[in-house]
């Protein structure tokens, strides 16, 4: 075998290997998707059936039984709402820490991240009681507030690590031209970091969409987002895998498709830019 052939063979083997790993890891999702088009009987047939006449009944039943649209709307409101609020609070903070670092900037950042290390269970009881006393149980308001605070440290940190890498000269030039601090942020910093801000926002939306601890414990039906709706399908009575799969497919599809388009930015974002 020549060296060239050897190299080709290696590429093919790498490809085969990579594809099989990807297919194995993706299989459960594929199976969920396929099952959502089966009848309940086909869904539990042994051996598993791969070829069948697809039906859309399950999706209709899911919408009727648990009002998918209502819960999806809750997910959209809570994840987008909290992400926007968190960005508005975090951008000024990240800006000031990145461009005017003080002696304690590093400590403040580490402290912020450490609040993320506080396990949610540690404060479950007080938050539950506060929500109960202020009539916020099963309300979107409570979830938006909690999601905002939950992701704020990560958002500040991510924005900080992007802002920090912006060339300082540009800002100085703007200042020489008589730009006020407000101009500086709105006309120079923000346009330069559209990409960074959007990938931060994407990550925050994904984390909120999939958040399950608070939504399971603080909502019942009115404000329940999709994570909580799905949990109601975990009841052991009877096997309704086709409906369960349809509900799961509906719950995950928006965020998975969303994620496919921005997976690269997400990984970069989630590693605080440490991996480029």
């Amino acid at each position: 075998m020549t060296l060239n052939q050897q190299r080709k063979l290696k590429t093919i083997l790498t490809g085969l290997f990579a594809w099989s790993v990807a297919l194995v890891l993706f299989f459960p999702i594929f199976w969920m998707f396929i099952t959502s088009f089966k009848t309940e009987l086909q869904a539990i047939s042994v051996p598993p059936s791969l070829f069948f006449e697809p039906t859309l009944d399950n999706f209709r039943i899911v919408q009727e039984r648990s009002d998918y649209i209502h819960h999806a709307w809750n997910s959209v409101v809570t994840s987008f709402g909290s992400t926007i609020i968190a960005l508005v609070i975090a951008i000024p903070a990240a800006y000031s820490m990145a461009f005017f670092p003080g002696k304690r900037t590093k400590d403040i950042l580490l402290w912020m991240l450490s609040t993320k290390m506080l396990p949610a269970v540690g404060v479950l009881v007080p938050i539950y009681i506060l929500c109960r006393d202020y009539g916020l149980l099963d309300s979107k308001t409570a979830l938006v507030i909690i999601f905002t605070l939950m992701n704020l440290p990560i958002i500040v940190w991510m924005l900080f690590s992007y802002f920090k890498d912006l060339p300082k000269e540009i800002l100085e030039a703007a200042r020489m031209d008589g730009a006020t601090p407000w101009d500086e942020v709105v006309k120079v910093v923000l346009p330069l970091s559209v990409g960074a801000i959007s990938s931060t926002a994407l990550l925050s939306i994904v984390l909120c969409w999939n958040e399950a601890f608070w939504s399971l414990n603080l909502t019942a039906s009115d404000a329940a987002p999709l994570t909580a709706m799905i949990a109601s399908y975990s009841s052991p009575e009877g096997l309704f895998w086709a409906k369960l799969s349809a509900a799961s497919t509906l719950a995950c599809a928006p965020i998975v498709i969303f994620g496919w388009f921005c997976q690269k930015q997400l990984v970069q974002g989630l590693t605080f830019g440490a991996v480029k």
Partner: protein
Amino acid sequence: MKRSITRLLMAPSVIMLLVWMIIPLSMTIYFSTIRYNLLYPGQNNFVGLMNFEFFITDPGFIPAVSNTLILLLSVLIITVVLGVMLSALIDKPFFGQGIVRVLLISPFFIMPTVNALIWKNMMMNPVYGIFAWISESLGFEPIDWLSSYPLVSIIIMVSWQWLPFAILVFVTALQSQDTEQKEAAQMDGATGLHIFRYLTIPHLARPIAVVVMIETIFLLAVFAEIFVSTGGGPGYDSTNLAYLIYNQALLQYDVGVASAGGLFAVLLANIVAFFLIRAVGKNLTV
């Protein structure tokens, strides 16, 4: 710009996080020292450390702590070791790389409740699940995963979610590896294994640190997977601290004991964080 303005810009974030940390935490501390059961309102006398005693002597306590740590360590080891090996193997151009990337990262976007339901029903069910079908086709007895190996099942679910993340971070990191260095090493007769050990692993030190840190934040708080699939059982076999405290507070209505447990969880997270930040902090640029 004046210091006062920079402080003002930081203030909303800092103040909100302080409030978010201090108010619930001090309430937890207060609740943990009084008798507070939602079933017996009005009997909230001071009980000292009794709630802690109750929590620590609860039959679920030791299993919960060890399950929490086993879950954390197993998932970390599985995702980092498999992640490094798989990413090193697929870090070459091949057919359909873009699609493979998209397929690989997908489990990361699946919500924990759905993750648990797919695995519990369609994969691990002892009669109709895919695993059962595979073992029967191979002539083995099907295994009832959730009741025979509850913690292992949870570890599989959680690893499935986080392995893609690790692979993607490492693959991204490997792309910035110096190819000239690798070629030079090859010229000098280094084997693939040597290159992996002395060039690839050191290059991945920082990404590994980042993955470990981020995963730890989420792994100490695994809840939905247990809630949906095993319910912490059988017995306490798959109960972790988060689930035990939830159990105390919202199922047994004992706020006092649950608060004591919450403080213990905070303490445990701090111990882990202490070691982690020392190990990882060096690798994070601030």
